[in-house]
Amino acid sequence: MTMNDRSTHPSEGSLQALADGELEPDRAVDVQRHLRGCEDCARHLDQLRALGDEVTAALESLDGREDPERWMPDRAWETIRVRRLDLRAHPRAQAARWWQHGAAAAIVVLLLGTGAAAALPWSPLRTWLSGHGTAEVLAPSSDTSPTEASPGSLPQPDPVGLTVDLRDGEMDLEVEALAEDGWIEIGRVDAAGVSAQAPMGTAFHSGPGRLRLVATGQPDQGPIRITLPRAVRRTVLRIDGQVAAVWTPAGLVLHEPVQADSVGGVLRLRRHP
């Protein structure tokens, strides 16, 4: 059987793959050898190439010439970022009170680590904190977090509402003021050793994998500080029921309405007005 035998003609699919540079090298050698002795197949290949060019030209006519700015990734990036903010913003009067209050000072310090609250047999924290082994060390992501692209273009935050300090993989959250009835929740915590401190007038509610702090009256002045150990791999921070940030091994993902600014190694967040 020779390569010019009709029964050995390459299929149209093989010719198309050859035209598209997608044929396996060994197979391509065989087909090209056949083409040298088969005018019909060579003509067919030319037709497929011409057809491809014709299709490409026709489709290019759809692309339009208007408003080339719309094609620019830089502009689109900002559009997408803003859109993401808009999609997630659900303005609530209650949320607006979050960053406005301050009062006098007495601070209650609660340590909710393995050695404190969890030691109590009746404590829900015992359930929460048990059964979690150590995990990989957190490494704040510098280039894979979706937030990395935006700090330079974000407006400067003035009233700082929430500060996230990442030090050696440990995460400190600091909420500047908690309005009456406002609350903050740390959820889906998958490691032990969480500690929190809050001003007088703040109630702590805990359950499996979560900690909620609620202002029971006019809160005293002073921030809420929550420290998450380096073993934590995934944490969801909710403020007034809205997801504000998610901490994953890939980095800190901000949700809206939150804006971020990186200053001196500390990430400062504030709610989007």
């Binding site: 997608e22 057809l51 299709v55 490409t56 489709l59 719309r70 689109a76 993401r84 979706p146």
Partner: protein, 159 residues
């Protein structure tokens, strides 16, 4: 490769693909933006090739799911067709609009698989990637692609 690098790498091709698929630039860009928002929100990870495939698939599905795209396109074409006079530049514009209309109709006449194969191949998808996108064996992509191109050309010349 950072997310932003992937974005800059994929965005132009994705918008071109979406515009060709939808026929409505606004609907196309809306779908592309939605795909990137979902990529961010759903914390999708993987090799750049996988993320690129995910984005194209998501845009394809979004456009397919939005029935209003077809209605918008018809409305746009209908409002653009009447031209009061024909100075040279207007004649050129009309000729171009007519060309676009014919290509658009030829593309719309294809079934979803043929259309997806044609448009994704134009964006440089390999046969292996195309096979994954449309759910066929890689070995059959050449045949399907040749048929899709021929159907498209036939539709175009019939118009």
């Amino acid at each position: 490769m950072t997310f932003r690098e992937i974005f800059h790498d994929v965005y132009p091709a994705l918008v071109r693909y979406a515009r060709r698929m939808a026929g409505d630039p606004d609907a196309a860009e809306d779908a592309v933006q939605e795909a990137f928002v979902r990529l961010l929100d759903r914390d999708v990870h993987g090799e750049p090739e996988r993320l690129r495939g995910w984005l194209f698939t998501t845009v394809t599905n979004l456009l397919r799911d939005r029935a209003r795209v077809a209605a918008n396109r018809s409305r746009l074409l209908a409002t653009r067709t009447p031209m009061p006079e024909t100075p040279p530049e207007a004649a050129d514009r009309m000729e171009r609009q007519e060309r676009i209309r014919r290509v658009r109709e030829a593309l719309d006449a294809l079934d979803a698989r043929d259309r997806t194969l044609l448009l994704l191949r134009e964006e440089g998808f390999s046969y292996r990637e195309l096979a994954r996108e449309v759910g066929v064996q890689p070995g059959s992509v050449g045949t399907l692609l040749a048929r899709a191109r021929r159907r498209f050309r036939d539709q175009l010349t019939e118009k």
